[in-house]
Each structure stands twice: as structure tokens, then as C-alpha cells.
Amino acid sequence: MKKNLTAWLCLLPALVFLGVFMVYPLVDVLIYSFEEGYNFASQSFWGTGLYNYSYVLHDPYFIQALKNTFIIVIITVPLSTGIALLISLELSSIKALRDFFQTVYFLPYVTNTLAVGLVFMILFKKTAYSDGLISILLQLFGGPSVDFIDGPYWAKMFVMCFYTIWIVMPFKILILTSALASVNPSYYKAAQVDATPKWRIFYKITLPMISPMVFYLIITGFIGAFKAYSDEVALFGTDLNAAGMNTIVGYVYDMLYGNSGGYPSYASAAALILFAIVFTITTINLMVSRKTVYYQ
């Protein structure tokens, strides 16, 4: 009993911190999401129920944000992981200039998001003075003049995905190159002596051996992409609803602090919907991984 008491006493500071800064806000968000007509100034509400959820789910801005988020997730997670895997494989098969390329690929990771956003503006934005570098190149090959930042939806989404992939890639390459380096070379030698074709070595040996890392990247990739917001701001500015490029987290933020903000109940409901989505996707991921991921 006394031993237990000491243990609890030792845990107390951590428990208090976790309780105050993690559990309480979470519970609070849950409560907010059910309080109808909550007023921030008077701290009052006139009822409880599911109205907030219903409102959010019927809000066209939220539907737009949901759609955008899903498109970003579905495009960027598989693409960035796949491309990162390809680059890592190439990186680990070259000897010359390997360190150089590794540095180059890692640069986006240490570059400021807003600075990168500016560069993307120059590349893609159409202004009074210039069509933007990419658009100029497109026209050079006979394409149309496209404004990627204020133009059609598909163009904006293209830039958005491109940017997201570019931003998340370095970390994935870093993880995957180290995972590849940790595979014992004698497996490859054994496979070589047995006349294993290259694709089969990759599919049957390399991929299973690094599967825990790939899986880790996919899970964190999904979660990260669902929480996308700052990258959108860097490209399209703070009024994402007007640009039609809002995300769920962006919607939550707008509901709290945006021009039309001041609705913590709607924000909480939206946050919990996001939580439910991420939770479901992660659970599915885990279930799939149990069959496909090999842990040593």
C-alpha cells in the first residue's frame, strides 16, 4: 500500500499536467459540441443536443472543407510515400554524391513554410506583371494561361497537393533511407546467388523488411494530412473559404477566430467529426497492417 502511495505521488505532477492540459480540454470540447446556442461572452446556452453536429454537417463550407481534406489525403499520402520510397531506393543504390543528394532532399524540411509559400507564389501565381513561371512554361508548350492560385479549382488543388507532397517528402526520405540501410546486406547476397529478379527482391525482401517504417509513415501521413491547415494558409492566405480551399482544421479555426467566428460549439462539433474520421481511418490502417506488416 505504502509502495503504491509513493508511486502515485511520483506520478502526480505528470497526471496533473496531463489532466489540466490534455484531458480537461478534450472533455470540454466534447461538452461544447453538445451545448446548443452557447454564447462565449455570457458563458450561457439554451439547450443540449445534436444541433451543432447537424449544423456543421449541413454547412456548405464544411462540406467543401471535408471534400478538400479528403482529396488532399487521398492524393498526397500514397504519392508522397511512394515517391519517397523510390527516391530512397535510388539514394541507397548510388555511392557518388549520395550525401549531396541526401542534403538536397532534406532541405525542404528545414526551410520555413512561409518562405516556401512565397516561392510557390512566384512559381504559380498570376499577377498584373507576370503569369507565374509554371504558367509561362505551359504557354511555351502551347498550353493555356492558368492562374494556379486564384484560378480554377483543379489548378488550386494541384498546387495544394504538389506543395503538401513536397513538404512532407524529406522526413519520409530520411526515415526510409535509414530503414533501407538497416536491412542486412546478406539477404540481398543470398537473393542474388539464388538468381532473384530485382523486382522480386524489392517486393519479397526489401518491402517486408522495411514495412514497419512504411506503415509508420502511412499512419502519420494520414493523420498529418487530415490536420492540414498551415500549408493552405501559406498558399492561399487566411480567407480559405473564399478561395474554396478550406480544410477541416481551417473550418474549426474559422469557427473560433475567423471573421465569421465566435462559435466554439460548431468548432467543437467539427473537431470531433475530424477526430471520428481520423480514428476510423487509423483503425482500418492498423487492421490492414496486422496482415501485411512484419515486425522482427
Binding site: 542486412n184 547476397k189 542474388q192 546467388v193 539464388d194 517486408p208 522482427q296
Partner: protein
């Protein structure tokens, strides 16, 4: 399939870039490995024996020289076209595959006309598993097996496609002492059953002696001696080979030849009429079993202690001209030792004494 090595040489650039000179891992190997035999490549670590194995396998390209399997020149062939089976020191079993999948792996690589049906593959896997006696382990993962079992799986995987040559890199070094004994007999049995020319690398002379048909002794990339185990033990060509084979090690003394007699210090330990007129400084090497306790014997040593092994006794002693720490003599256990003033006398069995030139360390035959 016999393996012919012709002036095989492998040089590596020195790791230390300041040294321009290349490291010669394998230096001018020129010998033939007869068909269907078990060959032990023996040498201390870093002597180039694994490189030699990799050259035969094709994982390394020789700097000079040629390798022939039978009459076919395979020097330029990559490993996958040589038809060799290789067992790695760490076994290199794919950890995420079951034993069955591991053994089947090489078969699944066959393409085109050689492609096998599922039934044939299964049959071959079973056959290989039976050969190494692991039929009941087929559905396990490598991590669920002991080192000895993993070793068998590795051998089965190497054998399943019926290679012309089986190569084993330090096959027993990851096993404990008891398993090592068992597995080396197993290796011999498998080799005899399949009749595949087998080359294995080892630094353990006992291992090499016990199962090899022929031993190749190497030192710093240079072939020292090749022959049947007993031959090499009995007739080592130089001091290195003499010292490398046999446990306990051969006992080496600084001695000299004078007037047809071999001296250690001032005492003539052996007559050697054939060396008349060939006076000079030599090393006198005596196998542990070459000592006979004899209070009147010419070789007087300081007695330290006796170690009882049951079957026989080893006498530990010192001598001022002995090269090394302690002399170890093995005598029958029933023999009594009675040191006088801490001194024990030995006479030597002529058949167990070898004499080597002091400078070249080459054997001088008696």
C-alpha cells in the same frame, strides 16, 4: 563438378587511403578441387578465406586468374548463373518468411522453361527438408528456431535447386559446442548423400580436420598447404601450418642442429643422421603426444602442474628455450609423474618431432 582455380588473385584497395599498396586477399591460388569432395578452407581470421569463397561463388570478381567449374569457365559469370548454393555465416534466412517459403524461394525464381509447378516445388521443398531433417518445422519462422535448426534450413535452401557446388561460410561458428559437433557430422552426411562438391570456410582446425576430405590451409592470402587432414597434421610444410593444426598446439623450441644431432639448449634430444653437415639454428617442434615422461630423458623442463582430462593427462611445464607460454605434453592418464626438484624429464618420440628452418620457417625433413 570439379572446381579449378587458375592463378586466382584478388586485390582490394587499402582502406587506409594513405597506403597506396593494395591488400592482396587471395594471392595466386592455383589448385583443383576434385569432384564430389568436401573441402575445408582453413586459416586464421583475415587470411582471405571468405574472399576465396566469394570468388568461387561470384559475389566478388577476381583481379586476375580464372575459375572453372568442370570444363566451363565461369570467371565472368554472375553468381546467379553459376549454379552455386551458398550458406551464409549468419544463415541470412528471410525472417518474415516461414521455413517452407524460405526453402521455396530459390525455386520461385526459376523462369521460362525451368519454371516449376506448385506441386513440383512442394515436392522439392519436402525433399530438401527431409535431407536436413526439418520436415516438422516447415511452418515455423526462423526466429522460432534454434541456431542449429536455422543452419539446417539455410543448407536446405542452398540445396533445393540442386547446385553444382555448395559453399558454406563458417557454417558452424554460430553454434554452441555440442551442436557444432552434431552439425558437422550432419554436414558430412549431407555431403555424402548428395555427392555435391562442397567447399566450406573455417578458422577452426578441429572442424576442418574432422570432416574434410581435403584441407586447404591459408595465411594472409597465400596458400600454405593442401592435402588430406592427416597428411597436413603429420607433414606440415612450414611452422605456420604446424602451429595452426592440432590442439593443444605443437610445442616449439629454439634449437640447433649439430653433428647430426638435434639440440635444445645443451642437451641433444634426438639423433638425426640425415642432417649431418647441415648444422644451423632451427625450430624444434614437438606434438603434445610426442613427449614421454622419462626421468633420464634429455629434455628437462620446469614442472608447473598437471591437468587431468580423464582419458589422458596434460602436463604443463616451462622451458627457457620454449617459444610461448607453457609447454603442454599429453601423456596417458595411468602414467605417473614424479618431478624432482620441480623438474620433469622427457624423451621425445622421433615420429612426433618436426624441425623447421629458423629463418624461412620451412620444414627440414629428417
Amino acid at each position: 563438378m570439379k572446381i579449378v582455380l587458375q592463378h586466382l588473385t584478388k586485390r582490394f584497395p587499402n582502406r587506409n587511403k594513405k597506403i597506396k599498396e593494395d591488400v592482396i586477399a587471395v594471392n595466386d591460388f592455383d589448385f583443383e578441387i576434385p569432384d564430389g569432395k568436401l573441402i575445408g578452407l582453413l586459416g586464421p581470421s583475415g587470411c582471405g578465406k571468405s574472399t576465396a569463397l566469394n570468388l568461387i561463388c561470384g559475389l566478388e570478381k577476381p583481379t586476375e586468374g580464372r575459375i572453372l567449374f568442370g570444363d566451363t569457365d565461369v570467371t565472368e559469370l554472375p553468381p546467379e548463373h553459376r549454379g552455386v548454393g551458398l550458406v551464409f555465416q549468419n544463415y541470412a534466412l528471410y525472417p518474415h518468411l516461414t521455413v517452407r517459403e524460405n526453402i521455396r524461394f530459390p525455386l520461385e525464381n526459376l523462369r521460362g522453361s525451368k519454371k516449376l509447378s506448385k506441386e513440383v516445388m512442394e515436392e522439392k521443398v519436402l525433399e530438401a527438408a527431409k535431407l536436413v531433417q526439418i520436415e516438422e518445422l516447415l511452418d515455423r519462422r526462423p526466429s522460432e528456431m534454434s541456431g542449429g535448426q536455422q543452419q539446417r534450413v539455410a543448407i536446405a535452401r542452398a540445396l533445393v535447386k540442386r547446385p553444382q557446388v555448395l559453399l558454406l561460410d563458417e557454417p558452424l561458428s554460430n553454434l554452441d559446442a555440442r551442436l557444432r559437433l552434431q552439425t558437422r557430422e550432419e554436414l558430412k552426411r549431407i555431403q555424402l548423400e548428395t555427392g555435391i562438391t562442397t567447399v566450406f570456410v573455417t578458422h577452426d582446425q578441429e572442424e576442418a580436420m574432422s570432416i574434410s576430405d581435403t584441407i586447404v590451409v591459408m595465411k594472409s592470402g597465400v596458400l600454405q598447404q593442401m592435402g588430406k587432414p592427416q597428411e597436413i597434421y603429420d607433414e606440415p610444410v612450414n611452422l605456420f601450418v604446424a602451429k595452426f593444426l592440432g590442439t593443444p598446439q605443437i610445442n616449439v623450441f629454439e634449437g640447433k642442429v649439430k653433428d647430426g644431432k638435434i639440440y635444445i639448449g645443451d642437451s641433444a634430444v634426438l639423433n638425426a643422421d640425415s642432417l649431418k653437415g647441415a648444422d644451423g639454428e632451427v625450430y624444434v617442434a614437438v606434438r603434445p603426444e610426442g613427449f614421454v615422461v622419462d626421468s633420464n630423458g634429455p629434455l628437462k623442463c620446469n614442472f608447473l602442474n598437471r591437468e587431468v582430462m580423464g582419458r589422458d593427462t596434460s602436463v604443463v611445464a616451462t622451458h627457457p628455450l620454449f617459444m610461448g607460454e607453457n609447454i603442454r605434453a599429453i601423456i596417458p592418464s595411468e602414467e605417473e609423474i614424479a618431478p624432482v626438484d620441480g623438474c620433469v624429464g622427457f624423451s621425445l618420440k622421433p615420429s612426433k618431432v618436426r624441425v623447421f628452418d629458423r629463418v624461412t620457417e620451412e620444414r627440414i625433413s629428417l
